[in-house]
Amino acid sequence: MKNLIEINKLTFKRNNRAIFNNVDLFIPKGKVTAIMGPSGTGKTTLLRLIGGQLAPANGSIKVAGQEVPTLSRNGLYNLRKRMGMLFQTGGLFTHLSVFENVAFPLREHTQLSNAMIRSLVLMKLEMVGLRGARDLMPSELSGGMARRVALARAIALDPELIMYDEPFSGQDPISMGVLVKLIRSLNDALGLTTVIVSHDVQETLSIADYVYVISDGGVIGEGDGGAITQGQSPQLQQFLHGLPDGPVPFHYPANTLKNDLLAEGDA
């Protein structure tokens, strides 16, 4: 099995706090890989590092054999044409209709005729089930529909890799089901490599071929869905079962309550 993305000894710091510390991660080609972890552990940051929007302090990030942090501007832009990314909010262009949103990457990067672009856009919209919504503006779409349109836009250029940032957060059960089905079927039908970043345990486990759980700057568990749920690490158990207290404490670090209450004078 060949890996599309290979991350070795990655270190990334923000304001002197290490978000990642010597992380190794491998994303196999043609599979759905999920990266899970509590909020604030830098899951979105990881996607931006892969996309070259951020530069790591140390380590190597190879996408399709190319070392992302050292690529030139042109090299990076050429690589990005082979990636699609779905942002948490969708990131649709608010001044363009659904149709024009999906057509945008085609118009920017190809010299296709209008008729050709029209057919391609309608095909992509058909895949996400929104061909009928092509004349709506993004403000008229529900959150789930906006994500599906963004998905159609992300696959417009037929990328090899598609990355989802929190695709399930804030969705009702129906949209969630639709998205789960779409992500899986697009991966299989188009032969994509999929990376999902999420903290929705059940949905993510149901479609992922391989799962990484990250917390505290490092990988705390990896394996296929079964191996992860069997994992013995207390951090992993707390995250998977949503326990309120555990290795991640309920209390934000502070003095003892007694000391704080007695020290009322010096606020």
Binding site: Q53, N78, R80, K81, Q88, G90, T94, P105, H109, L157
Partner: protein
């Protein structure tokens, strides 16, 4: 003490960094122009958004400013028996100062704040990031056309402001106060110089166009991607660009009078 020195130093470095970032933005906007055919359509759209949509407020303000300058000027001049000089008074003050400065201030309020809000919103809703991930450079696709739109719109708006303000003065001076139309125009013509007065005013407006658009774009691009951040960015756009316009106006006027 050491802490305060450190804070001051940090502030200084932050300020310099901001100028650096703004400089890079301007550089990108000017030199990363998209290919001509696509870029042209985008710039036309921006001339529409920044220029044509500002036209109404510019023209209405110009009419009133011209009328009020004429009214004030007429009463002051007639004390010296020089009310015949109303034409030159209005034309010179409008062409040299009021035209470029008031247009720039109105432009900052109308188009500048809209630009900052639009770009801040695009940033907050990940539109700029998704553009980057689609291998489209936001500097080229979003910032550059807006910059050139402002650069082109501002002098055009100033020219229109000038003509409307002078027409307003004509209405008050000739139609209302009963001055002789021939004297109004001929006195104006003999004291207004095309290069020294009218062209210099337009040069000023080009500089203001660059500065106001630049400030608006930078504030939007650098905004904190939240609602409060966007609100801040629009406020700062109006405040900073108004100050910059008034300060630069003094510098430019001094340069022009000093036969630069």
């Amino acid at each position: 003490m050491i802490n305060q020195v450190e804070a001051l130093g940090r502030l200084g470095i932050d300020v310099i960094r901001k100028y650096g970032k703004a400089g890079i933005l301007l550089y990108g906007a000017i030199f990363r122009v998209p290919n001509f055919r696509k870029g042209f359509a985008l710039v036309v759209q921006q001339i529409f958004a920044e220029g044509v949509l500002s036209l109404l407020i510019i023209m209405v303000s110009a009419l009133f400013i011209g009328m009020v300058v004429a009214l004030q000027g007429y009463h002051t001049l007639s004390k010296f028996g020089a009310s015949q000089q109303l034409g030159p008074l209005v034309a010179l003050s409008v062409a040299r100062e009021l035209g470029p400065v008031v247009t720039a201030l109105l432009f900052a309020g109308r188009a500048g704040s809209a630009l900052a809000a639009e770009i801040g919103l695009m940033k907050a809703t990940d539109q700029l990031s998704s553009m980057e991930m689609m291998a489209v450079d936001p500097l080229q696709r979003v910032i550059a056309p807006r910059f050139w739109g402002g650069f082109i719109s501002m002098p055009l708006l100033t020219i229109i402001f000038n003509i409307v303000a002078i027409y307003g003065a004509y209405l008050v001076g000739v139609k209302w106060l009963g001055m002789d139309a021939g004297a109004f125009w001929s006195n104006m013509q003999s004291s207004v110089e095309f290069h020294a007065d009218i062209l210099n005013g337009i040069y000023k407006s080009v500089v203001f166009g660059v500065v106001v658009t630049w400030i608006a774009l930078y504030q939007g691009y650098d905004a904190v991607p939240t609602s409060a951040g966007i609100a801040n960015a629009t406020t700062r756009t109006v405040v900073y660009s108004s100050l910059a316009v008034l300060g630069l106006d003094f510098v430019l006027t001094a340069m022009m009078i000093g036969e630069w």
